[in-house]
């Protein structure tokens, strides 16, 4: 059962019922839920509340939302760093929760992560070579000679010089450090890389360089990406599809073209407005959504209604469900 991560790997079980035919999803999140119980007066919180999506081979799905919307919690559930309190993660059709030891090992190899801040995700006391080698050795199964060659090749592929392996993270610039973090994930030759705000901590002039590298590596290694971000401007350069999250739910999903060119949910429109290049006198201060201080989790109805400029009576009563507005675009809004 050690099916090595091959891009076209057939699903072991039948695909999910709602899955479009003809494309095998690498990873499917089905109705994921993560509830954190509160203490005393604090009633707890449902950080991820029924989230479903799938990631196909060689595609990039953007999971976009503000801090606290549950996007990073969702990523942790996919990476196996946290367990869902409901729903499931399917890897090539198999429920990750029911995998045996060997299956989990294979799964962990094939899903890797790159985090926002390479300053804190890289061990400052380890040399770069050791940082990139560590996951390979930990996962086992790679002969020592091959490990060495793999580390050298990977460093080269991310654009670092050969002698980088002997240096420490602090000897590199922010952009180069992010290359090291990417190399560490890439060394495993994963099927899917979860990129959690990979360029947010970088200077603007370096951002596009790292985005271009990620794009390039994706086609070279036939990887899929889950990109987590709050910024549709940077996500636009990478994503094929977008899922917008608000307070634990996906409120809109569609192809990048659909979401960027014909957004249906008012929150998606706010995200686009905020990421747009605009001069002060073009920003309409009178209209638009309420600011983040109006965020609340209403007991009834739509979660976004407290900020929504269009909210109507029905929005307070009925919780909107995702419904299709095109074969590939879905939105959870009564008015869309």
């Amino acid at each position: 059962m050690t099916d090595r991560p091959v891009a076209e790997g057939p699903a072991a079980e039948g695909p999910a019922a709602d899955e479009p035919a003809g494309r095998s999803a690498i990873l499917v999140a089905r109705n994921l839920e993560r509830r954190f119980d509160g203490h005393g007066r604090d009633g707890g919180i449902v950080a991820v509340d029924g989230v479903s999506f799938e990631i196909g081979a060689c595609e990039t799905l953007g999971l976009i939302g503000e801090s606290g919307c549950g996007k990073t919690t969702t990523a942790k559930l996919l990476l196996g760093l946290d367990k869902p309190t409901g729903g499931s993660v399917l890897h090539h059709g198999r429920d990750v929760a029911s995998l045996d030891r060997e299956g989990r090992r294979t799964y962990r190899r094939s899903v890797q992560a790159v985090f926002q801040d390479p300053q804190s995700s890289l061990n400052p006391r380890m040399r770069v070579g050791a940082i990139v080698r560590e996951p390979l050795v930990a996962a086992g199964g790679t002969p020592r000679a091959e490990v060495r060659a793999r580390v050298a090749e990977t460093l080269e592929r991310v654009g670092l010089e050969a002698d980088a392996a002997h240096r420490f993270p602090h000897q590199f610039s922010g952009g180069q450090r992010q290359r090291i973090a990417i190399a560490r994930a890439l060394a495993m030759r994963p099927e899917l890389a979860v990129l959690d705000e990979p360029v947010a901590s970088l200077d603007v002039s370096v951002r596009s360089q790292i985005l271009a590298l990620l794009k390039d590596l994706q086609s070279q290694f036939r990887m899929s990406y889950l990109l987590i971000s709050h910024d549709l401007a940077t996500a636009g350069h990478l994503c094929d599809r977008i899922a917008v999250m608000y307070l634990g739910r996906i409120v809109e999903t569609g192809s990048a073209d659909e979401v960027y060119d014909s957004p249906r949910h008012p929150f998606t429109r706010e995200l686009l407005e905020a990421a747009r290049f605009a001069f002060a006198d073009e920003v309409d201060t009178k209209r638009g959504t309420a600011d983040e201080t109006a965020v609340s989790r209403p007991v009834t109805g739509c979660r976004f209604r407290t900020r929504c400029p269009m909210a109507e009576e029905i929005c307070a009563r009925v919780d909107p469900q995702l419904h299709a507005v095109s074969p590939t675009q879905q939105v959870a809004c009564h008015l869309a």
Binding site: S67, D203, T293
Partner: protein
């Protein structure tokens, strides 16, 4: 002496005028000239953006304005910092302390580290009000609530007894701003205040800052690496590279007709919504370290338009029109060229 009305004309006496500022840092390896002859001014009610990448000297410039350079290693080695006609560089520490918060205030990138985690919001805001004698002892709470309400913090009075960790990032930045504005300063120095915020929260914060600016006649020096932020908040912007200002212009002009190849490259490299399908471009190479700047133009090694002369001679500042200048040989007129080459 509080300024009230917003003066928009460039010709009025500026509130702040920085002339040929030089800042040096000393360490075991020698002296680094991190800021190397920076000149700019800020009018009343105006926002000037200082734009640049990490290490270009923009933060050091803003720290020099507050006279907050690390006293053991950094010093203002030249130039003048004229604030309402007084040279800040010549003031004693005691005189400077009286200006901080009441004439010039500062907000920084990470609001969480600017607030004390063990004191309530009320205590920290009231402390600032007392320090600047803006609140009599019995009216501290009331004044603090009013200040937070002005920063659009809902239920300000009931939230006064909260602690910083109970606030979101955007709300914390509003509290920090309230504290910075408690002493009614004329100048606010904002060093990447929105960099750690979500884009949506950032957009709302910038909008709020502009409203506060209009109602107070506040002048702002806004330091950032993000062109999108510059567009949203600034009237004028100065682009810094390797310790110098390479271009300065009103924002619209800077974006529509950048004169310096560095500004142009930055604009092209910024990930933008409307350009999401265009191939990504970036600036190859890295800025020079302060101790290894090339003899001519510091950008020449990375510049696609570099000429022989750029590598030999540092470019002078050239005024393209009354409000637009660039330090680039491309804009030297023919006469100057002939004169220089003999």
């Amino acid at each position: 002496m509080a300024s009230s009305g917003v003066v928009d004309t460039a010709d009025a006496a500026p509130l702040l005028s920085v002339e040929d500022l030089v800042v040096e840092f000393h360490n075991r390896e020698g002296v680094s000239r991190v800021v190397d002859g920076v000149t700019f001014s800020v009018g009343r009610g105006e926002t000037l953006g200082l734009l640049g990448e990490s290490g270009c000297g923009k933060t050091v410039t803003s720290l020099a304005l507050m006279r907050l350079l690390p006293s053991r290693s950094g010093r203002i080695a030249g130039g003048r910092l004229l604030f309402e006609g007084t040279d800040l560089a010549t003031l004693s520490e005691e005189q400077m302390r009286r200006l901080r918060g009441s004439a010039i205030s500062m907000i920084l990138q990470d609001p969480l580290t600017s607030l004390n985690p063990v004191f309530s919001i009320r205590r920290q805001v009231v402390e600032a009000l007392r320090l600047h004698r803006e609140a009599p002892p019995d009216r501290g709470r009331e004044k603090a609530a009013a200040l937070l309400a002005e920063m659009r913090i809902p239920d300000a009075d009931s939230r006064l007894d909260s602690y910083p960790h109970q606030f979101s990032g955007g709300m914390r930045q509003r509290v920090v701003s309230a504290i910075a504005l408690a002493g009614n300063p004329r100048l606010l120095i904002a060093d990447e205040p929105t960099t750690s915020l979500d884009v949506t929260v950032q957009a709302h914060f910038l909008r709020l800052l502009r409203e506060i600016q209009d109602s107070h006649g506040l002048s702002i020096v806004f330091v950032t690496h993000d062109l999108g932020v510059i567009a949203r908040i600034c009237h004028r912007a100065a682009v810094m590279y390797a310790g110098r200002i390479v271009e300065e212009a009103p924002v619209r002009q800077l974006f529509a007709a950048p004169a310096h190849p560095y500004t142009r490259a930055l604009l092209e490299a910024s990930p933008r919504l409307e350009a999401r399908k265009r191939p990504l471009t970036w600036i190859a190479g890295q800025p020079p370290s302060p101790r290894a700047r090339p003899p001519g133009c510091a950008f020449a090694p990375r510049c696609p338009a570099a000429m022989e002369r750029c590598r030999r001679e540092a470019p002078p500042e050239i005024w393209i029109d009354q409000r637009h200048r660039a330090a680039c040989w491309l804009h030297a007129n023919g006469e100057d060229e002939r004169h220089r080459d003999g």
